[in-house]
Subunit: 437 residues, 2 copies
């Protein structure tokens, strides 16, 4: 019998995060202050982030202990299963062995709680009473709402107005976990009021919501801001995914993957599964292909510049050296809301620039076609973001079939699609347009 579902015991769950920073082929270029354009000092970030997370952002330690209180929460749903996609393999008639790490089993339905819980913990420890953040479709906001509830921290979420009105379910999820959710632009901040003065009917954007969340945190006592992707400490927290996957692949009798695949918006779920394997590639002891999958509509690796850019429209954030389509780029309204970000995590950008990672981009109709095949073979209805990884996996598995190659393909199934069935509806009953940036 092939074990198609590889579980770890609680006692086997990794208790460290892997910090890739000291192993990178060259150091990251420093973030620059948005006004002075000089490298930011750690204390420049203190109005926004707690000291513990600022320290993690620049840590030179290779492994960082996961605090017991964070492990206790992780244990509500972790270790997540690694699943051999036997039925998908059969449908594709491929000799490849396909494994997926399923992060959709978290109560929020995605990988986002891995960092949300860690960020809430360190904020609590450092005296933060309240966290603010932005959210688009709500995947990140709901993860942070849950994490804040667990640590007794208030949570305020600025949700892009068009999503707030059109996708009420994730708003309800945030409220169920006790968060206050405001449509952005709002009257609560100067950034929001300025936008509304110009356009009272503004539907908002992620860039505006980030500006509001930061302004709120900076101007409210005991408040900090929290970001769900892009930054080094966020990717650090996600490495629990890859550390578990390494152990599970070993249990499955596989020595190492030949291909590791993840979708990329800001880069955190891909970094999370990839870095613990990339460790060996950076040391030169193992080789494999790492594929970042983007939507054609928002393809920062394949189409963006590798340059310093702001994280938000209002230019409030430090400048980061990253692959970017420009901080004022507004991505087309594709259904994979979590991939609609103009920039890419600096670490992922550097690994792409140095040739350690390759990228692929797909249109949303072919991505949903892949999601449909996955649902009809493996059962799971995946999030539109994760469907990009499924599509790339299927393409690689087909190549293996053509060449008769028994490769081991590993991809991260970052979340389920129960709250994205409206997109499936459009795909099944109307058809989806393919849009480019």
């Amino acid at each position: 019998m092939i074990e198609n579902h590889i579980t770890l015991k609680k006692s086997e769950m990794p208790t460290v995060w892997y910090n890739i920073l000291p192993d990178l082929p060259r150091p990251l270029d420093p973030p620059l202050h948005p006004l002075t354009k000089q490298p930011v000092a750690p204390q420049d970030l203190e109005p926004i982030f707690p000291p513990s997370l600022i320290a993690q952002e620049v840590s030179s330690e290779n492994f960082i202990d996961i605090p017991g209180e964070v492990l206790d929460i992780y244990r509500l749903w972790r270790p997540t299963p690694l699943i051999r996609a036997l039925r998908l393999e059969k449908a594709l008639r491929t000799p490849a062995r396909i494994y997926y790490k399923y992060e959709g089993v978290s109560p929020a339905g995605s990988h986002k709680p891995n960092t949300a819980v860690a960020q809430a913990y360190y904020n609590k420890k450092d005296g933060t009473k309240r966290l603010t953040t932005e959210t688009g479709a709500g995947q990140w906001g709901s993860a942070l709402a849950m994490a804040c509830q667990f640590f007794g921290i208030e949570c305020t979420v600025y949700m892009v107005k068009v999503s707030y009105e059109q996708k009420p379910y994730r708003k309800v999820l945030m409220q169920t976990w006790g968060a206050s959710v405001f449509p952005s632009p709002s009257e609560r901040t100067k950034a929001g009021r300025d936008i509304l003065a110009k356009d009272p009917n503004s539907l908002g954007s992620l860039g505006i919501a980030i500006s509001e969340a930061i302004e709120d945190a900076v101007n409210t006592p005991n408040s900090k801001y929290s970001l769900g992707s892009v930054l080094n400490h966020v990717l650090l927290h996600q490495t629990i995914i890859g550390e578990e996957a390494r152990l599970q692949l070993e249990k499955a009798g596989e020595s190492f993957p030949d291909i590791v695949i993840g979708c990329v918006g800001g880069g955190s779920n891909f970094g999370g599964i990839l870095f613990p394997f990339m460790r060996d590639k950076l040391k030169g002891t193992r080789d494999f292909r790492a594929i970042a999958v983007e939507p054609v509509a928002c393809s920062s690796l394949l189409k963006g510049k590798y340059d310093y850019d702001y994280g938000d429209v209002a230019k409030n954030t430090p400048l980061l050296k990253m692959h970017t389509l420009g901080h004022d780029f507004i991505p087309p309204a594709i259904h994979a809301g979590g991939l609609r970000y103009h920039g890419m995590a600096p670490i992922i950008s550097l690994l792409y620039d140095t040739g350690y990672i390759e990228a692929q981009a797909y249109h949303q109709s072919e991505v949903f076609e892949a999601a449909l095949l996955f649902a009809r073979t493996e059962g799971i209805v995946v999030a539109p973001e994760s469907a990009h990884a499924v599509k790339a996996c299927i393409e690689e598995a087909k190549k293996c079939a053509e060449k008769g190659e028994e490769k081991v393909i590993l991809f991260n199934l970052s979340g389920h699609g129960f709250l994205d069935l409206g997109a499936y509806d459009k795909f099944l009953n109307e058809g989806l347009p393919d849009v480019s940036e």
Copy 2:
């Protein structure tokens, strides 16, 4: 470290279903033919069900092997976790040890695939090319759609029109898995046309949808009908839940539960977790309390008669001896759609009648209050149906706190609530009415 998440290896998964029929304190009264009122012979059921399932319905074997092809599908998500609710215990300051079996990890999000997969398998084996069924909110219809897709059987679902129009997400889920979904009443059957002739704007009911699904199956070549609860073979397939839970409780170092709790609509998820423990109670070797939890709005055990009744409004089904509120009873529109059924599984009814099971009923506002506490401690946002079990569990745990009793409470968390967030929205932002039948 307390293992709060008790997993089983694939190789430890039970490979038999437990058939409680031969162990019941007295034999079930036979189903009666709807026209002759005489006991139905197995062959009377052949236009509706395949021979394998008819045989299981009256089997006297104590254990029935789960076919390998069914196990292969179960392994996509089974064994499901048994989770110790440490954070809920702490919030309640109870010395009770609370465990929940989490069936929401299935791709359909509930326990329903346990029988859907088995029914699709046996139908396939017996030559059925197409299955019909009815669904209310869509939990059952989506499970059967997935199962039929896996076995290459066509699936046609009659979905109560009010749900078809108001809850489109589960309709999309069924279509994603390849099913044809029609709002009921439809023009496709005489039963539907008769209703529409009287009331062209009829919003439908489960009773009408059952009549349409049966009529379709009987009149279409190679088609059979499939039911998601109530019948003996359905509860049989669900016993995988309790068989796993027994092994997991043992692993957790617990000798036996003191209380086993489940919500009841038709009775299948409660029967599923309960029967493998009830086996010992029926033999007199163990004692514990078994609590069936109903909505006040549709309380067939506490308020219904124990008598022969039809399963549908149109009186097409055999008469079953069961607790019933009457086949023409239309339950109020509570959010726990899966509990809105007038009757109760004959086996559960008999165990209740003979004192082996007790019942509790709760109003929906207190049930959602319990669900909120659960989401804020354990993370999982539960389905409104499962929230009834959560409520009863909390009440029992509070009693343990008052009396200082270290009881072991086990309940079945039959499904997640991602597709029920509209109900949470109403609860959080408007308040829910408490309705009685």
